[in-house]
């Protein structure tokens, strides 16, 4: 049987999605998970977004526009995953943190490496998946110095024969998927201001949606929509500043009063502070075709020291819903107004349909850095629930009337005081590492942290292109001593179903399949398969270097199901190893390294792609 004919027909896949019949026992079902068409209505050419329904491939870092990381493939299942064997490997030849998800399009796998951000095509139709071509964008080496948290890249997006991704020196590139030829390259930011780009884009119709990194360097955050054909910047929406810059217009209807009013991106800051106020957009973008809204989070305000920026610091540490074509803002919600702890709001917001209090709701599921799993109405931005999944000493909950996070008095960081026992620490109960959601069961799989910190504020001096933080932190393990936890979470019930303590923060992504298996990796180098309902460990494999990459699954040209993951420790959590930092200083890697002093004894660096299959 040929590769193509094994795939479910696209139309059927679409129907499957839309049919309520796929909903099971009041759980959730994927709504509008399809990225919308890349072509004007009436065109018959198959487009990438429809292909995204095709579980044989993996076309965008988070699998689909809904950001589920759920695959209906089930040849590998809870019963036989114990027999999973290594099929082939490939070394990237690089030693820094490998955070990307590989993509699979037809018979080719595409891998984006950390700096120098090579894009490598591997031929899955040939034995051992040899390299087809390598594209080298040659980013400026200076960019390495302004990347806060290792020189990582989180992956690419595919649409219409093109691959789109970002380079560390703040460019977006489009590359021909067949030939590896550069189609366009657009400069979006300035490394001299500390702007880098590390996030994985999302393609919606004829727009590539991207954003900047640099929240620790006093950048001004933004998201942009580029024309897929030309790379021209169709819109750019700032995360701070006057409404005109934020693309806030007459259709902006935030749910809560605190987000309503003119020019809040200026008025909730001391004069001019918004110009260097952060709110970078370095995380995940999701999309709902029915509402025609993209959703993305904004990062921490700058500097970390909150006393230098009295006010709510809009629009940092929140989530925007925008029109993909124009960037126009439709609603906003702020997870952490006047953020005190570097609790960026950039984690994924998964598009799902859920039964809440007996009523079907169209929601976003957001396991946040603040330690709560948020469930939002995705049409309005209303918070339906916020349930703690981590150990929290910094807030008591979210007031559902005002939407406001309730801080714990006395735990506020600031000038010349040392606050101890801050939980979660700056990386939050979960950082960027994306969770997976099974719409059939309503279960969410969270790669979690269990870290606390002491923090002392001092005056941060703004010098463009250098760190703008103003906070000394020392991090350490939270209660129990395990620095990470892999959590199975029932979203509708707001309950932890299982938790697997891990020695180190779980900094990898997750994939969950219809075969009732969830895959994730650990920083000490175990790639694990657990039972998606119970958390029971079913299989594990020791890879060469700690895993911080995003696992994927796909059907190869030979018709077999495969699972792939990049190993290669690093990132903020693993910088102590990838950057060879000195463990004698507690403040290494902005304080994170202090909690990771034993990582060098548990793993070494080096990027390698591992692909597994049943024999």
């Amino acid at each position: 049987m040929s590769y193509r004919s094994r795939l479910p027909p696209l139309v059927l896949a679409g129907l499957f999605l839309l049919t309520p019949g796929c909903k099971k026992e009041g759980g959730a079902h994927p709504s509008s998970a399809q990225a919308s068409s890349n072509l004007p209505a009436g065109t018959t050419k198959p487009d990438a977004s429809k292909l995204a329904e095709d579980d044989g491939q993996w076309l965008t870092a988070s699998k689909d526009a809904a950001n589920t990381r759920y695959s209906r493939l089930k040849d590998i299942h809870a019963g036989n995953v114990k027999d999973l064997k290594l099929a082939w490997t490939w070394s990237t030849g690089l030693v820094r943190g490998h955070e990307a998800a590989p993509l699979v399009v037809g018979g080719t796998m595409y891998v984006v490496t950390p700096y120098p951000n090579r894009l490598v095509a591997l031929d899955l139709t040939k034995e051992g998946a040899p390299v087809k071509w390598t594209y080298e964008p040659a980013p400026s080496p200076s960019a390495q110095g302004v990347a806060c948290c290792d020189v990582v890249n989180r992956g690419a997006a595919y649409a219409d024969g093109r691959l789109f991704y970002n380079t560390l020196d703040a460019h977006t590139v489009a590359v021909d998927a067949q030939t590896g030829k550069e189609l366009w390259k657009t400069k979006l930011g300035d490394i001299n201001k500390g702007e880098t780009m590390t996030m994985a884009p999302l393609v919606v119709r004829d727009r590539v949606i991207v954003g900047n990194s640099g929240g620790e360097m006093g950048v001004r955050g933004w998201a942009a929509g580029l024309d897929t054909k030309t790379g021209a910047i169709a819109w750019r929406a700032m995360s701070t500043g006057p409404d005109a810059d934020v693309l806030i217009g007459p259709h902006f209807k935030p749910f809560y009063a605190s987000d309503q009013g003119k020019d809040l991106g200026v008025r909730t800051w001391p004069p001019d502070q918004w110009k260097i106020g952060g709110g970078s957009v370095w995380g995940w973008v999701s999309y709902d075709a029915a509402l025609d809204l993209v959703f993305y989070g904004t990062g921490n305000p700058g500097p970390w020291n909150p006393d230098q920026r009295p006010g709510d610091n809009k629009w940092t540490c929140g989530i925007f819903a925008r029109r993909p074509s124009t960037g126009e803002a439709v609603w906003f919600y702020q997870w952490s107004p006047h953020d005190l702890y570097d609790h960026d709001g950039i984690n994924e917001s998964i598009v799902a349909d859920l039964t809440v209090d007996g009523k079907p709701r169209q929601v976003l599921i957001h396991p946040g850095r603040t330690g709560y799993v948020y469930v939002l109405d995705r049409a309005t931005g209303q918070v339906l629930s916020a349930t703690p999944f981590g150990h929290i000493t910094t807030s008591t909950g979210v007031d559902l009337k005002t939407g406001r996070l309730q801080p714990v008095p006395g735990m506020e960081t600031g000038f010349d005081k040392t606050i101890r026992g801050i939980c979660p620490a700056a990386p939050g109960s979960k950082d960027w590492s994306p969770s997976a959601f099974n719409p059939e069961t309503g279960m969410l799989y969270i790669p979690g942290n269990n870290l606390c910190e002491d923090a002392q504020g001092y005056e941060a001096n703004y010098i463009a292109g250098t760190p703008y933080v103003g906070m000394n932190t020392k991090m350490y393990a939270g209660p129990g001593g395990n620095r990470g936890e892999f959590i199975g979470w029932d979203v509708a019930a707001g309950k932890k179903v299982f938790g697997i303590p891990e020695k180190f923060p779980v900094w990898s992504g997750v994939v969950v399949t219809a075969g009732d298996v969830a895959f994730y990796g650990t920083m000490d180098g175990w790639f694990k398969a657990v039972h998606a309902r119970t958390g029971q460990e079913l299989w594990k494999f020791k890879v060469g270097s700690g895993i911080i990459g995003q696992p994927i699954t796909f059907r190869g040209p030979d018709g077999k199901q495969y699972v792939s993951v990049l190993s290669g420790v690093g990132g903020w959590a693993g910088a102590i190893v990838s950057g060879e930092l000195d463990p004698r200083d507690d403040n290494i890697a902005l304080g994170f390294g202090g909690a990771m002093k034993d990582l060098p004894q548990n793993t070494t660096r080096g990027g390698m792609l591992y692909t597994f299959a049943l024999p």
């Binding site: 080496p141 200076s142 001299n192 250098t466 060879e580 200083d585 290494i588 890697a589």
Partner: protein, 184 residues
């Protein structure tokens, strides 16, 4: 290269003589040879202004002077070196300064050049941003972090959250070169 090595030796020898203002003896060539060289694209702050003071003929701060070293410690935070190299010099966006490994040399002249010219893999060029005297104070402080200064000049305490033992209690790390991948 030769004159530099010689100079380095000269510096090491004379450094023992505590009272001597040894730096004034250095010929002008002791200064990083090409002051106009910049090897980093990064130039912090607003677009570079010309250096505010004339290039001094000699090193402008003493490694034997506790005040200069403690000024260096303050400036290390002030100029945001701490953000990239960590409060205690253990590293982050930039490499550790606390250890024995040196990519671009541990001699004061090497470190001066690192700060003023920048380095290709992300060390910004602070040319024209930091007055010369203060650059030398930073140089002295950077060296104190790996125990290269005499114990009685290295800072004994911090005014901030301690993230490692003090510079004055730091055992000397014998400098050794570290290979660094040069950009293509």
């Amino acid at each position: 290269m030769k004159p530099r090595i010689l100079l380095g030796t000269l510096v090491l020898l004379t450094a023992c003589e505590r009272e001597q203002r040894r730096f004034q003896e250095l010929p002008a060539a002791a200064r990083p040879a090409a002051r106009d060289v910049q090897v980093s694209e990064l130039q912090p702050g607003p677009v570079a202004a010309p250096p505010s003071e004339p290039a001094p003929a000699t090193r402008a701060a003493s490694e034997d002077n506790a005040y200069d070293v403690s000024e260096g410690k303050r400036l290390y935070v002030w100029f945001n070196c701490a953000g990239c190299h960590a409060a205690g010099g253990g590293g982050g966006m930039g490499p550790p300064l606390l250890d024995a490994k040196w990519r671009y040399g541990s001699e004061p002249e090497n470190i001066y050049a690192t700060i003023v010219e920048g380095r290709p893999n992300g060390m910004p060029s602070f040319r024209g941003k930091i007055p010369d005297t203060q650059v030398w104070q930073l140089v002295a402080y950077v060296r104190s972090m790996s125990g290269l200064l005499k114990k009685d000049v290295a800072p004994g305490r911090s005014d901030t959250l301690n993230t490692r033992p003090s510079e004055s209690s730091k055992a000397r790390e014998t400098p050794r070169p570290e290979e660094v991948e040069q950009p293509r």
